[in-house]
């Protein structure tokens, strides 16, 4: 297993956000976490990257404990996190944002190569490379946030609500990108409110309800599950 969560618990004050969540992510797959607002999806990702400290359980990445590490240390292990709401650096140019994603890397030739490949993936970012990130549209900012994560050459990519607030045509583009990243050998953990999109993209899915995993299985199978259909697909 590339990533393993073992009964992790996260509390916000007295409120339990995650109560014993276990998950596993294998190499080369898209794993999705779906669920209602406040079910603990984002918190799960934040726990992995060290932004939300654990109150119990453990997290293993490549067999090594990573819970309790500072977020920058988790990043240095090869986990990139595209946070909810994109969180690009507003007063930095597109190119500076991307290069900041490569902060931990040495070797400028490799970095230049990856910068070119991000621009190939998102030509619109290249057109705007000297513009400040705050001037970009929501879709462009999402591309920038994904590109920034790619610049760290991650071994695992966490994505939090990449489709949020985007026009359908842009959502399709982002979905295609996620597929390409995964087929390029970087496994993705995808948190989505758009369950239809998530289940179509993913290989494996977890359903979170009130901070616990209520259901898990192959994405195709969950897509046909009656409970999932009624609760998340609006069928």
């Amino acid at each position: 297993m590339l990533l393993e969560l073992r009964r992790i618990e996260v509390n916000f004050g007295k409120v339990a956000a995650l109560r014993g969540v276990s998950m596993a992510v294998s190499a080369s797959s898209i794993v999705t976490i779906i669920g209602a607002n406040g079910a603990g999806k984002s918190t799960t990702l934040r726990a992995i990257s060290g932004l939300a400290p654990l109150n119990g359980g453990e997290i293993l990445f490549r067999g090594e404990r990573i819970d309790g590490l500072f977020p920058n240390k988790v990043a240095s292990k090869g986990i990139a996190h595209v946070p909810e709401g994109r969180r690009v650096f507003p007063e930095m140019s597109v190119e500076e944002n991307l290069r900041t994603g490569a902060f931990l890397r040495q070797g400028s030739r490799d970095i230049e190569k990856d910068l070119r490949s991000v621009f190939e993936m998102f030509p619109r970012l290249e057109e705007r490379r000297n513009r400040n990130a705050k001037t970009l549209s929501g879709g462009e900012q999402q591309m920038l946030a994904i590109g920034r994560a790619r610049m760290s050459k991650p071994a695992l990519l966490l994505m939090d609500e990449p489709s949020m607030g985007l026009a359908p045509v842009v959502v399709d583009e982002i979905a295609l990108t996620i597929k390409r990243i995964a087929s390029g050998g970087v496994p993705v953990v995808l948190v989505e409110q758009n369950a239809e999109l998530a289940l179509n993209l993913a290989d494996y899915a977890y359903v979170l309800e009130n901070g616990t995993v209520s259901l898990e299985g192959e994405a195709g199978r969950l897509h046909d599950d009656d409970h999932v259909k009624a609760a998340y697909l609006g069928v």
Binding site: S49, F70, A75, P83, P90, M92, E96, T100, F103
Partner: protein
């Protein structure tokens, strides 16, 4: 009238020079660490006392004193990070209160070591550039102006062109997102404290021969520095540099034509105006403040 304007312009340039060095450091620390360093004026004061101790006291060459002042006060900044701000990272208000404590300690230690009377540092140079009968620029003031331009330019290049400069800007704009890129907030905080404190220190070193040096001299600059923080807003460290220079100019011009109290009132009014019209500050984009 032209001569008065020219002389005022020169005075403003000089005041803007050292004030922006102090304010920029405060803004840098606030931007990167989210904490207000109330003792920042004392760092300026400590820089001046490095001159009193080494230059007046032992006759160490001034240029060497400047280098020592920069590094010494920069290290005081690092000391503050380790003893105050890092342990209180999760509580910005705690950091502020502790920095007030540091302010009192610094003033007390200096008073014990040097006494509370005003020190007068012998001038480094007596030369004055005479443009005309009423327009003159003492060489020491020119020195302050040139040094400020140099240090602010270096800071600008550091922020714009270097990997750690980007890390500082990224932390100031979104600390959490910066951490996700592998940027260590501990590292950026150390850099911000060293650079911010060092700049305040060098401002103290530069102005010491021109003003009266006393344990409480930090008060005068800190109010101005705070106004600059609020007017400039956070988010853009470069914006803060521009705001520091602009404010220092306005303050000096008002001081010259009216007086210092009116200048402070003008500054505070500007601050209120900005808070009403643009609560995030002129250059601010984040709502962290």
């Amino acid at each position: 009238m032209i001569e008065l304007l020219a002389q005022t312009g020169l005075n403003s340039l000089y005041a803007a020079a050292y004030l922006s060095l102090v304010a920029v450091g405060l803004v840098l620390i606030f931007g990167v660490m989210g904490v207000i360093n109330f003792a920042h004026g004392e760092l300026f004061m400590l820089g001046a006392y490095v001159v009193v101790a080494l230059y007046s006291g032992f006759g160490v060459p001034y240029i060497l004193v400047a280098a020592i002042g920069l590094i010494f006060v920069g290290c005081i900044g690092i000391l503050m990070e380790f003893t105050i701000f890092r342990p209180l990272r999760d509580s910005p208000l705690g950091g502020l209160v502790a920095s007030i404590g540091f302010l009192l300690i610094a003033q007390a230690l200096v008073s014990m070591g040097f006494g509370v009377r005003m020190e007068h540092v012998p001038p480094v140079t007596q030369e004055v550039i005479v443009f005309s009968e009423k327009v003159r620029l003492p060489l020491q003031r020119l020195f302050v102006i040139l040094a400020a331009v140099m240090f602010l330019s270096l800071l600008w290049i550091f922020l714009r062109r270097t990997r750690f400069g980007w890390a500082l800007r990224a932390s100031a704009q979104d600390a959490e997102a910066a951490a996700l890129q592998g940027i260590s907030i501990r590292q950026t905080s150390l850099i911000a404290m060293f650079v911010g404190a060092g700049l305040a220190g060098i401002a103290g070193v530069l102005t010491a021969p021109l003003i009266s040096v006393g344990p409480h001299m930090g008060h005068a600059v800190i109010v101005a520095a705070f106004i600059v923080i609020i007017v400039g807003g956070i988010g853009s460290l470069e914006g803060a540099i521009v705001a520091s220079v602009a404010y220092a100019f306005i303050h000096t011009i008002v001081t010259t034509f009216w007086d210092g109290v009116i200048a402070d009132i003008t500054g505070l009014s500007l601050m209120l105006l900005v808070l009403i019209v643009r609560p995030t500050g002129l250059f601010g984009t984040t709502d962290r403040a």
